[in-house]
Every structure is written in C-alpha cells, then in structure tokens.
C-alpha cells in the first residue's frame, strides 16, 4: 500500500513537471510565431504589389538563331552553373535533315561545340531551349516538400534551402529543363534570371544574344515587344498536348520540334 502511494505521487509529480515543461516553451513559441507573422505582413503586401500587372513572357525566334551558344555560356556564368558539367539551364539544339526524310538532332556541350558536318542543302536550323515557365507546371505539382512554386508574375522557382534533391521534378518536366545541380545537390532550372528581371534587367541570355533571337517582356503590357510579337506573328509552343501551357513562344518552329 505504501509503495503504491509513492508510485502515484511520483507519477503525479512527473506528469505536472512534464506538462509545465512543455506548456511553457509552447506558449513562448506561439507568442514568438505571432510576432513573426505580424512582421511578415508588410512583406506579403509588397510581393503582391510587385507582381501586380506582371506576367513575364519569352519569345524565341528560331529563324534568327545562329547557334553560337553565347546564351548557353552567359547563362552558366550568370547563374553559377558549373561549366565543366553537362548540365544547362538553357541549351541550343540543332536539327539537320539528312535527305532521307530523317532528322539528326544534336546539342554537344549544350550547343557550345557544334561540329561543322558536311555541307548539304537539306533543311537545317537551331532551336534554343529553356524552362517554359508553364502556366500549369507539372514539376510544382509533384514536389513532395513544397520546394518549387510558381510566383505571381509567372516564374517557376526552386527553394534551394528546402529542396531535398529527390529528383521527382526532373522526371516530371516534359521538356527536360530541370537537373540536379552538381555542387548544391538540389534541383536547378532556368528562372528567366529572376534576380535580374526584378531589378528591371533582361535575362542574361537575352542580353548577350548577338542576333536578337531571344526576346523577353511583360505579357500584360500591351506595348511590350513580346506582346506585339505574339499578337502579330505566328507563334507555337512546345508539347501543347501535355496541357502545361508553356510561356515560351517560338517563331518559325518546325513540325519535327513540336
């Protein structure tokens, strides 16, 4: 009997101590979280303000592209993608018909080292590729940890701190636009140079293109170059049957590419 009482007393005291030990930090935490939520309200308002009236769009003119690969190199330099690894945020593909109705496609080193090949009169052209910043992005849908998302101005971004490198998004992208960064070991992709466009600059690939094959701008601005091109030119997007609604529009796209 005496033993039982001691055990009850012990359990009672232990329970009280445990409850107090949990309640006090929990209360502290809840107060802390309340203050931090209050602190981020202004931030929320500012991002929605930044995004208001903006929807970025990209136009690629395959008729102009000369396959020089300056965009590929500039992108790697701007976004710290290792140059000695075969991973690319943007790359250039070459399509050459061989005269037998077949098309040879190559993109050695992302389009930096095209071999000359023999001279032919057959159809031949370059197609620069990059993330399509889909209106309906499958990569965002499959991410199990919420590490990739679409911003209010229409760019799909990766949260490098939250990504666990599971590669689901790389599998989900129908365009092959994603890769695992060799250094950070998290998913990486073209962001249309989000850090530049937020400061009123153009993406690095658009800046360096010597022939003006890449155009970038705000689709909600009726006066912007991209809006005018999409309104007046015949443009196509890639893999429309996937239902992803790509936001990169191509001028002069051939049937074999689509």
């Amino acid at each position: 009997m005496k033993n039982e009482l001691t055990r009850r007393q012990f359990l009672g005291t232990a329970c009280k101590a445990l409850t107090a030990g949990i309640l006090i930090p929990a209360a502290g935490l809840s107060i802390f979280s309340q203050t931090s939520t209050a602190g981020t309200v202004t931030q929320q308002a500012s991002w929605e303000k930044v995004w208001k009236g903006k929807e970025w769009g990209f136009v690629v003119n395959t008729e102009k592209c000369i396959g020089c690969g300056r965009c590929v190199l500039a992108c790697k330099k701007e976004n710290h993608v290792p140059e000695d690894h075969e991973v690319y945020r943007t790359w250039v593909e070459r399509y050459v018909e061989n005269g037998k109705g077949e098309v040879n496609i190559d993109s050695p080193n992302g389009g930096l080292d095209f071999p000359p090949l023999g001279e032919t009169d057959a159809k031949q052209f370059f197609v620069p590729k990059l993330c399509n910043q889909c209106h309906n992005p499958p990569c965002v849908q499959v991410c199990p940890v919420g590490a990739t998302y679409k911003t209010g101005d229409g760019v799909v971004l990766v949260d490098q701190k939250r990504c666990v490198g599971c590669r689901y998004c790389i599998q989900a992208c129908p365009y092959g636009a994603r890769f695992l960064h060799p250094k950070t070991k998290v998913a990486d992709k073209c962001t249309w140079c989000y850090h530049r466009i937020q400061k009123g600059m153009r993406p690095a690939c658009v800046t360096v293109c010597p022939v003006g094959a890449r155009k970038f701008g705000n689709l909600k601005d009726q006066e912007s170059e991209v809006t005018k091109i999409i309104e007046h030119e015949r443009v196509l997007t890639l893999k429309r049957e996937q239902g992803t609604k790509p936001m990169v529009f191509y001028i002069g796209l051939d049937e074999v590419v689509v």
Partner: protein
C-alpha cells in the same frame, strides 16, 4: 462502488492528460519544423522568393553602363556589323568590371574560337545573315585580330 468510480475517473484523467500532452508535443513540433513564412503565398516558403530575387548579378544591363566610360569605343562601332551586339557578348560578364574597373579587366585576346563561335561554317548556319568561314582554311591558324578589328569587322587593319 465508490472506489470503482474513483479508479475510472483516474483512468479518464490519465488518458485525457496523455492526449493533451501528445497534442502539445505535436503542435510544438509543427511550430518548430515548419518554416515561419511557409504558406504565406501558397504551399511554399515565402522567404524563398526574396532569396531567389537577391542572387548576385554577373552581367550588367545593356551597353548603357559601358558607354559611361567607353563612349569613344561605342561611337567607333557606329553602324558597323557588330554595333547592335552587347559588349558583354564577346567581353564576358561586366557587372564586377563596372563596379571596380581596375580589379576586373574585360580585355580579351583575339581568340580564334571566340570569333568562330559565330563565324565558322557549320550545318544549321547556312543561309543566315552572317559571314561564315572555315577558320582553318581562312587564316591557317593566324589569330583573327591580326587582320580584322572586331569593332570594325569588315574595315580591316592598316
């Protein structure tokens, strides 16, 4: 009978207390492990937008920044073939050079490969409005800038 009820009450109290403790642990863990800004704009960490927007810039915007110091070179280009090309297309990323010109030079050698990346004859480039040559046949290994001035490509050197 009364004793039984007390035991039952105690049992309810204990189970209830356990439930409360489990819930408290659960919510404390939620507070602890879910980032503060998660869910602010959707199912992701709101702070990540700012982190993405604050990455370091390597390429300066347009030739406007270059013109502040190199106006002579830019006017020298005039209406030459390379006039509409951004300086950084050949010279490389210029943001650091813009901020501290002496520490980060943008001087480039007349590297054959650099010129060849646009001007070599390769499949796919035929029929485009660009002068192409076979670099080996054309110069036999002599660097391009020996004869050509990149700022006046067809003018030639004296």
């Amino acid at each position: 009978m009364a004793g039984k009820r007390t035991i039952l009450n105690q049992a309810f109290f204990r189970v209830g207390l356990l439930l409360i403790i489990v819930l408290i642990i659960f919510f404390s863990a939620m507070q602890l492990f879910i980032p503060q800004s998660f869910g602010q704009y959707g199912g992701y960490r709101g702070d990540s937008i700012r982190e993405n927007a604050n990455f370091e810039i390597s390429f300066a915007e347009g030739t406007g920044a270059c013109a502040k110091c190199h106006n002579n070179t830019i006017s020298e280009l005039g209406s030459a073939q390379h006039a509409n090309i951004d300086c950084q297309t050949c010279h490389g990323p210029g943001e650091k050079h813009k901020n501290s010109p002496k520490s980060f030079s943008l001087k480039i050698s007349g590297d054959k490969n650099l010129c060849a990346s646009c001007h070599s004859t390769i499949a796919g480039r035929q029929g485009k409005e660009i002068a192409t040559v076979n670099p080996v046949m054309h110069s036999g290994g002599v660097i391009c800038t020996k004869c050509h001035d990149p700022h006046q490509p067809l003018g030639g050197r004296n």
